[in-house]
């Protein structure tokens, strides 16, 4: 049985010029696997994740023909029931750590806080688990970093803190929105290993939203390509270079390579799509 099944998901925002659909009729299912979502900025990737989590901001409206998680219909849930689900059963690593972390609370306390809301661990245990989680995301001196405020850690460390916060909860479904965009390749590999471990060992379902095409292509079991709120193509793992849709091919072409000699990179010609 699939962990998550979504059918005809729509997210609509009212604007000055009438309602605007930012996600238009998305359908997919997710098992205990790694699903990648790619697409350009504004294509609705984050909104899809937020809609599943019940985190679409105020004027936005979510509708769907089906939104089942673990045999449970998510559509009719009250705000309280959703909050219970978030963190214990499903959690999301939000896109920008600078905005998602509270700027006036120390890193360590924020991780402990995340555990306190849903767990029954004692204070000491929470502290230890928080430090372990920081070590797991390869932060070298977790004791020091736990005492820092969010503006005192580097960009990549902030992202790893966000991941550590979600990993300690060991959810059944994790949506990671650009979790590694500020990480160097070697740390990134290790962070992905932690997530992979949760998928294979704990049977977690993972949705990885990213614009790093190469990474997603190598690492995910399946990839959905989104354009203007719709899925334009589904690609099997490793088959990115054989993508059919002109949009996907455009994206691939605009990637620089490590032995780059082109003077200018090709850019998407949106008029032609």
């Amino acid at each position: 049985m699939s962990l998550l099944s979504v059918e005809n998901l729509r997210v609509t925002f009212p604007t000055d010029h009438g309602p605007a659909d930012v996600v238009r009729g998305l359908s997919f299912t997710l098992g205990r696997e790694r699903l990648g979502i790619v697409g350009e900025s504004g294509s609705g990737k984050s909104m899809t994740g937020r809609a599943i989590m019940g985190l679409v901001p105020a004027p936005g409206k979510v509708t769907a023909d089906q939104l089942m998680f673990n045999g449970k219909d998510l559509r009719g849930l009250s705000e309280d029931e959703r909050r219970d689900l978030r963190g214990t059963a499903m959690s999301m690593v939000l896109q920008d750590p600078k905005f998602s972390l509270n700027p006036v609370i120390r890193i360590g306390e924020q991780i402990e806080e995340a555990m306190a809301v849903h767990g029954t661990l004692g204070r000491r245990e929470r502290r230890e688990r928080a430090l372990e989680a920081l070590t797991a995301v390869r932060i070298k001196d977790p004791e020091r970093v736990a005492r820092l405020f969010p503006h005192e850690v580097s960009g990549g460390m902030g992202q790893r803190v966000m991941i550590a916060m979600m990993v300690v909860l060991e959810p059944a479904l994790m949506i990671a929105d650009e979790p590694t965009s500020a990480l160097d390749v070697s740390v990134r590999g290790q962070v992905l290993d932690i997530l992979a471990d949760l998928v294979s060992r704990r049977g977690m379902g993972l949705i990885l939203i990213s614009h790093d095409l190469n990474m997603v292509a190598r690492w995910c079991d399946r990839i959905l390509v989104m354009y203007r709120g719709e899925i334009v193509e589904e690609i099997a793992s490793g088959a990115l270079m054989d993508a059919q849709h002109p949009y996907t091919r455009g994206l691939v072409a605009s990637l620089p390579t490590i032995d780059e000699t082109r003077d200018r990179l090709p850019v998407l010609d949106r008029g032609k799509l």
């Binding site: 960009g155 390749v185 590999g189 605009s254 850019v267």
Partner: protein, 244 residues
């Protein structure tokens, strides 16, 4: 153009940079790559005059007199910075026009209107965006505004802190192309922090690899392209970039 010698930085007794030294020539594009948390942004902050305490020698632009530190106003005309996060680096309540005018107002420069319009053209933003607020722009458009703001005072040196890591690949290509042509046009000197080796290969002439607060290797881009980095950490980065 940029001269860094024995730069060391500590935050409350923890040393994060150890005797970092490198030089960047006029018109050159130099990359800093390395581990997350290794101190790349801290180097840029020191050069930008945003660090209260460090030891070592820093020189930028036409400043030859090491004993007399730059005033903030002088420095502003020598060096500007573009930040990683296009969402956090623009004031949420000021229009693009306000943002681009501000440096001109601070330095009391004339012809503000025409300069703002010329800069919008230079970074490829439609003129009709001039009075929009940041939340009405996409990530890539905001990053163009940030680049435009950095160029308003015509500084010879631009510090770029992961300018495209928050952007998707199609927009990244546009911004990289833009940076490349601006550099050719205005003979700018770039100091670019990134973790993306292909970006280095496209935009830079030389690179330094940082690990745990030290430079472990300085190489030119040819060595990177052909995978001939000498340090073991450099090799690891290369392998991971190519083979995942």
């Amino acid at each position: 153009m940029i001269h860094v010698k024995d730069l060391s930085v500590s935050f409350s007794d923890v040393r994060v940079l150890h005797d970092v030294s490198f030089d960047v020539a006029t018109g050159e594009s130099f990359a800093l790559v390395g581990e997350s948390g290794s101190g790349k942004s801290t180097i840029l902050k020191a050069l930008a005059g945003q660090l209260p305490a460090f030891t070592g020698t820093l020189r930028i632009g036409e400043d030859n007199d090491t004993d007399r530190p730059f005033s903030a106003r002088d420095r502003a005309r020598q060096v500007q910075m573009v930040f990683q996060d296009p969402y956090g680096s623009l004031h949420p309540r000021r229009t693009i026009d306000d943002t681009l005018n501000e440096p001109l107002l601070i330095h009391g420069l004339p012809d503000r209107d025409s300069k703002v319009i010329a800069m919008l053209d230079a970074v490829g933003l439609p003129r009709r965006f001039r009075f929009r607020l940041p939340h009405q722009l996409s990530g890539g458009q905001r990053q163009r505004v940030a680049i435009a703001r950095a160029l308003m005072l015509n500084p010879p040196v631009l510090l770029l802190d992961e300018p495209t890591s928050a952007l998707d690949v199609s927009v990244q290509a546009e911004i990289l192309n833009l940076l490349k042509s601006l550099r050719e046009e205005k003979n700018l000197t770039f100091l670019l922090v990134t973790h993306d080796l292909p970006v280095v290969s496209f935009l830079c002439d030389r690179l330094a690899i940082l690990h745990a607060g030290r430079i472990v290797e300085t190489a030119n881009t040819e060595a990177l392209r052909s995978g001939q980095l000498s340090s073991s950490y450099g090799q690891e980065l290369f392998q991971r970039s190519v083979y995942g």
